[in-house]
Amino acid sequence: MVEYIQIAWQGLVSGFAYALIGLALVMVYKTARILNFAAGTMAGISGFLAHWWAAEQDMPFGVAILFAMIMTGAGTYVVERLTVRPLVKLGDFLPIVIMTLGVEEFLANVSLLWWGGTARRYRVPGDIDRINWLIGDFRLNAWHLVVAITTFVTLSIVGYIINQTELGLGMKAFAEDQDAAKLMGIKESTVSIWTWVLSALVGGVTGIVFAPVLFLQQDYMNIIFIKGFVAAILGGFLSLSGGVAGGLLLGELEAFTIKWAPREFAAALPVVIVFIVLLIRPHGLFTREKGHERV
């Protein structure tokens, strides 16, 4: 029994990463219909920045994170204005995807030139990432607990912003109907940019909180990004809670399939399951199919 709880917990911790990145992706897609391929790399750079300020500029841990988040937000603001904004008015999905791929390549190389390819340890106060508690037979890593708490806090803040603030209302309006939202006098460009920033901050939190788990290395968040993408689609790309749920589900799927499936199929099985789910529910688990198509 404890073994299952242990596996479930491990899956959940991976799932937190997928869920947060999935959330960040869905947020931007839902509001602006943009798929941001640079999300993983941007999240990774946040992690590097936090490490850089703490380890090489001798800032206190928390302050370094704060600085990293500010940099992430500001950087994203600039990136969105310079690269994505000029393309939005074309109303075409693909050039923006290519643009974010270009941004991804560019930023990944900036990061590589700056920090090199060697993995670094992201030190946390008291080295709590190395503390494991034994609860009965269940082993709980202290940092994993921090990851869990951070995830919940982040989700709550995002939930609050979406439901209680003007930005959130704008995001919802755009998600519902772009044209109607414009008619209501909501400025598309403003909503879009703050959605980007919010999404990058969620990504940044993920990048930082997972840095001790994955180590800071070249593009360490990119794999998480791909999983987050899978998770977001599993959840239905238009549902924020779906993105989160998809992430957690994917984490569990991975943990349990690798545990039970024969070694040969273990790696592919989660993807196969997602594939089958998609065939049964073409718009993901948590988005309802649009009624019947009006013709």
């Binding site: 073994e3 242990q6 596996i7 491990q10 991976s14 990463a17 990944a108 190389n109 590589l112 090199g116 390819g117 060697t118 993995a119 670094r120 340890r121 080295d127 990432d129 190395r130 494991n132 082993r139 890593n141 994993h144 788990v213 994955l214 180590f215 290395q217 070249q218 593009d219 794999i223 998480i224 791909i226 999983k227 991975e254 943990a255 690798i258 545990k259 070694r263 273990a266 790696a267």
Partner: protein
């Protein structure tokens, strides 16, 4: 016959347009491709058909230098993963190559020839490695390909090296097929195949811990080297003790599932065939999940960075290496570290990757010196084959090459992390 068929194809292709032109062009191309595979003396420029027999006779006396060699320099190429998730290895190897180059050049070069090399990124993608190889050989006219990294990539590029008579020197690539002198007569290495390493590990394990109650788990990469790693272990005297085989992918983010499986199968010893970062992560997660076993890291895991990343958790971990620990205390190693730090290396870059490239550089220097002033591929290979009991200052045991054996080193060295440093336990062979 060939050009006739070509014409046919050409006619088909361009509906008979300029068939004559095609024929002409074909002749020149077939001659240029055959010459590039037959003689190292001529560059592959198509103009080389000028060289007449009288010129050749004259050249014999005044020594026809190999491609990439001039009176004042010898040019090498190196294809490395400079981007992507193996970028750290590429950076380390290049640093060691720079150290070697500077050492030789500051000493006045070899017969007055300075060492130069060009690095190109392949991001561990064989397509790029092949394109790089062609660039080195046909555009930059290098003498040899030096210290490239990767088995899968080298597998793709090696035929091109062989055909163009370009030596492949001291790569970090461990596929068994490379070491066949008949197929790859220009391949020199000081890095035994992955197969030999795990075989050595299995033998050492049984010799030192017996077989009672020993259960072994292997975790290898799902790629070129992985299967040979497993096979090597199975062929060792501990082969029967294997109870759990796991693989990992280059884009894994966690080894939790594999670790849980190892816990399930109750292993006492785990061999982890990864790089240092992955090994550190493995140790971390093993601790989180409560896997209690002896951990054996492969060549790639033996670096200062493993200890830096894993901290306390690395204490007591074993390493199976082909070379002494980069952090050890031997004359050769001290010289290596001194040179590396002088060149701006970080602590984390003191690793097997850079040490292997560095050691290859020592042998390379010796080969070039022995080949004499008239440096040709033949004289170079002969020089390599003549090296016996070459002293590396303790980095490896004395190296021996011969006509049948271009693998100078057959060591399997067992190390252990003690008090935050890799210590050498035993030096043996498979």
């Amino acid at each position: 016959m060939k050009s006739k068929l070509w014409k046919l194809l050409a006619i088909f292709a361009v509906l008979g347009l300029i068939a004559v032109g095609c024929g002409d062009d074909d002749d020149s191309s077939s001659s240029s491709s055959s010459e590039s595979s037959s003689s190292e003396s001529s560059s592959s420029e198509s103009s080389s058909s000028e060289s007449s027999s009288s010129e050749e006779a004259a050249a014999e006396e005044e020594c026809e230098l190999a491609r990439g060699v001039t009176d004042d320099k010898i040019l090498f190429g190196s294809s490395q993963p400079m981007t992507g998730n193996l970028a750290a290895l590429g950076e380390q190897a290049v640093l060691a190559m720079e150290v070697t180059r500077d050492r030789i050049n500051e000493g006045g070069g070899i017969y007055g020839r300075m060492i130069e090399f060009i690095v190109q990124d392949d991001a561990y993608n064989p397509e790029k490695t092949v394109a790089n190889a062609q660039y080195f050989i046909e555009q930059e006219n290098v003498f040899a390909i030096w210290a490239s990294i990767g088995s899968a990539t080298l597998k793709a590029a090696l035929p091109l090296h062989d055909e163009s008579n370009t030596p492949s020197l001291f790569p970090w690539a461990q596929d068994l097929s490379f070491y066949d002198v008949n197929n790859h007569p220009l391949f020199f290495s000081v890095n035994p195949p992955a197969y030999a390493q795990t075989k050595g590990f299995g033998n050492y394990l049984v010799d030192n811990f017996g077989t009672d109650g020993i259960k072994v788990g292997l975790m290898t990469i799902n790629s070129v080297d992985g299967e040979q790693t497993v096979q090597g272990y199975k062929d060792s005297s501990g082969g029967d003790l294997l109870v759990d085989e796991q693989t990992w992918e280059r884009d894994s983010t966690t080894y939790g599932p594999q670790i849980l499986s190892f816990i399930d199968s109750g292993v006492t010893d785990v061999y982890v065939g990864t790089g240092d970062t992955q090994f550190a992560q493995f140790l971390l997660e093993a601790d989180q999940l409560g896997l209690e076993a002896r951990f054996w890291g492969s060549t790639g895991t033996i670096s200062a960075n493993t200890i830096e990343l894993a901290g306390e958790l690395s204490e007591g971990a074993y390493g199976v290496n082909v070379i002494s620990s980069a952090t050890g205390d031997k004359p050769g190693l001290n010289a290596y570290r001194e040179a590396m730090f002088a060149a701006g290396a970080e602590e984390a870059q003191i690793s097997t990757a850079s040490l292997l490239a560095y050691t290859g550089g020592l042998v390379l220097e010796e080969m070039l010196t022995r080949a004499g002033e008239c440096l040709t591929v033949e004289s170079f290979v002969a020089a390599g084959e003549s090296i016996k009991d070459f002293d590396t200052g303790g980095i490896m045991r004395p190296l021996n090459f011969s006509e049948e054996n271009h693998l100078g080193n057959n060591d399997v060295i067992i190390l252990q992390v003690q008090n935050g440093a890799w210590e050498e336990l035993v030096v043996g062979q498979e």
